[in-house]
């Protein structure tokens, strides 16, 4: 059925990576679920799991085609809508020459699907405890069609305008993290703060869940980043090592800054630091080598910790710090890649400032950051406004007090 260009080793690794990335969304559910109050934990878990249901189906219906069909610079087309031809397709538009895929297109479809699933799920950390479930379903459904495929097109597809400009994003620093972070900010500006925030204490109800979720995310991220090599080779190995070292070093720097500033090294800090490192290394994973992942990780742990102060300074209730960790971490990774990218690691990349490439890549990185942020923020803001004006984004004050578990789902996590 497939041409001889299919590499069995590459296909085996990508199939494995699909499962690894799929596991990240339940991991994220537990990462976030532990941080909310006991009355909202099911609300958080279902929002994440629900993304696996809704976004997967939408990806098969139109998402993949809008991201990877046709030859447009800004958006795909409907050539592959409803999975048309995917079973027999031998190549994708733009994926030729150096970029030729050596895995079945349907495996590439599934790998990208898992990215499309987890990206809107990241938003749930910012909107925790107050977003109405029906509004959430519509929000991420629309988002998965009008926002995500466009950014994926610009950045991932060789036909995309940011790709062609020479901006680099190995595994989705812009497509996943900046994109979701900007959307999270837009939604909470429409949604408003939780009742009582920041006056009232809203401590995490189960940090062991959060540590469990961190472990699942870290494990899954090997598929996310090393799988993005779309091959089982040296580049995938380098991406895997970079991923691990960045998480490890970011955990250390987060804990150090936290200890110095707040007095204690905390469990939540260790978990958050590791995730911040994973976010920052995501765009860089297949373009840097040597000590770069450790420098990127150390920087990410400290900068993301300091970025926690943003929400208090500007009084927006980014409940579980999606902006500090994913938006700031994603932007930081994209910028640092402009310094640390090394064509000796990946000949399809470009050299950064520190490897003799001058500022060209760095400038392109800033353009990619700005374009992704602006597009995601503006479109998401408009979508959130429309939902709020029609069915309402937010639960009633009473429902918020009772908690999402009971008011939205008629359940309780703990008896």
């Amino acid at each position: 059925m497939y041409a001889a260009t299919i590499d069995q080793g590459a296909t085996a690794w990508v199939l494995m990576s699909i499962a690894l990335v799929a596991f990240m969304t339940p991991g994220l559910a537990f990462f976030y679920g532990g941080m909310v109050r006991a009355k909202n934990v099911l609300g958080m878990l279902i929002q994440n799991i629900f993304a696996m249901g809704l976004i997967s189906v939408l990806w098969a219906a139109v998402g993949f085609s809008l991201a990877f069909g046709g030859t447009g610079k800004y958006i795909g087309n409907f050539d592959f809508a409803l999975m048309k031809d995917l079973a027999t397709l031998e190549s994708l538009p733009g994926y030729t020459g150096d970029f030729a895929l050596v895995i079945p297109i349907v495996a590439f479809f599934a790998f990208q699907m898992m990215f499309a699933v987890i990206t809107p799920a990241l938003i749930t950390g910012a909107t925790a405890d107050r977003l109405k479930f029906s509004a959430y379903a519509i929000l991420i459904g629309v988002w998965a069609v009008v926002v995500y495929p466009a950014v994926a097109r610009w950045v991932f597809s060789p036909n995309g305008w940011l790709f062609q400009r020479g901006a680099l994003d190995f595994a989705g620093g812009a497509v996943v993290h900046i994109n979701a972070g900007a959307a999270a900010l837009a939604v909470i500006l429409v949604l408003g703060n939780r009742k009582g925030w920041p006056r009232e204490a809203m401590p995490p109800h189960n940090l062991p869940f959060t540590v469990l979720g961190t472990g699942i995310l870290w494990f899954g991220w090997f598929g996310f980043n090393a799988g993005s090599a779309l091959a089982a080779n040296g580049l995938a190995s380098q991406a895997l090592v970079n991923t691990h070292l960045a998480a490890a070093s970011a955990m250390l720097s987060w804990l150090l800054v936290e200890k110095l500033r707040a007095g204690h090294a905390t469990t939540l800090g260790a978990a958050s630091g590791a995730v911040a490192g994973l976010v920052a290394i995501t765009p860089c994973a297949g373009f840097v080598g040597g000590m770069a992942p450790i420098i990127i990780g150390l920087t990410a742990g400290a900068v993301c910790y300091l970025a926690l102060a943003l929400k208090n300074a500007f009084k927006f209730d980014d409940s579980l710090d999606v902006i500090a960790v994913h938006l700031v971490g994603g932007i930081l990774g994209a910028i640092l890649l402009g310094f640390f990218a090394d064509t000796k690691v990946n000949s399809l990349g470009f050299d950064g400032v520190l490897f003799g490439g001058g500022s060209k890549l760095l400038v392109n990185q800033f353009i990619a950051i700005g374009a992704t942020f602006a597009f995601s923020f503006i479109v998401t803001y408009v979508v959130a406004r429309i939902i709020d004006a029609t069915i309402g984004l937010r639960v009633s004050a009473e429902e918020e007090l009772v908690g999402l578990d009971q008011s939205q789902h008629s359940e309780a996590a703990y008896q």
Binding site: P198, M202, A262, G263, H264, T266, G269, Y305, L308, N312
Partner: protein
């Protein structure tokens, strides 16, 4: 007959229970409670934000004893529950007008 109510640190429960049993107390009722006294709760820090936790977990023990036992029971509780640090808790004593054992119908000191 007196009702002795004491609030202690949760980790001291076993020591207090064992000491009271050795002192001849035959029964007690224990509940997990939350509260604060002069200790005034404590603080917890999550991602750099400090929260004041006003209500600290404590254990409440209630037991009814004969008047003659009160002093020794109070001493026993004090000795077993004390750590010398803030938050060790309190003991208070209330008069009890009568007691009835449900199974046998015994009343007064016989029912203690």
């Amino acid at each position: 007959m007196k009702l002795i109510t004491t609030i202690i640190k949760p980790f001291k429960l076993d020591e207090v229970k064992d000491a009271l049993k050795s002192a001849g107390v035959q029964g007690m009722t224990v509940s997990e409670v939350k509260g604060f006294g002069r200790q005034g709760g404590h603080t917890e820090t999550y991602r750099g934000s400090e929260y004041a936790i006003d209500f600290v977990p404590k254990v409440r023990i209630e037991l009814v004893v004969d008047d003659s036992q009160v002093d020794s029971v109070v001493d026993t509780i004090r000795t077993a529950a004390a750590t010398g640090k803030i938050g060790d808790g309190k003991i208070w004593i209330t008069d009890v007008s009568n007691i009835i054992r449900i199974r046998t119908g015994e009343v007064g000191p016989d029912a203690v």
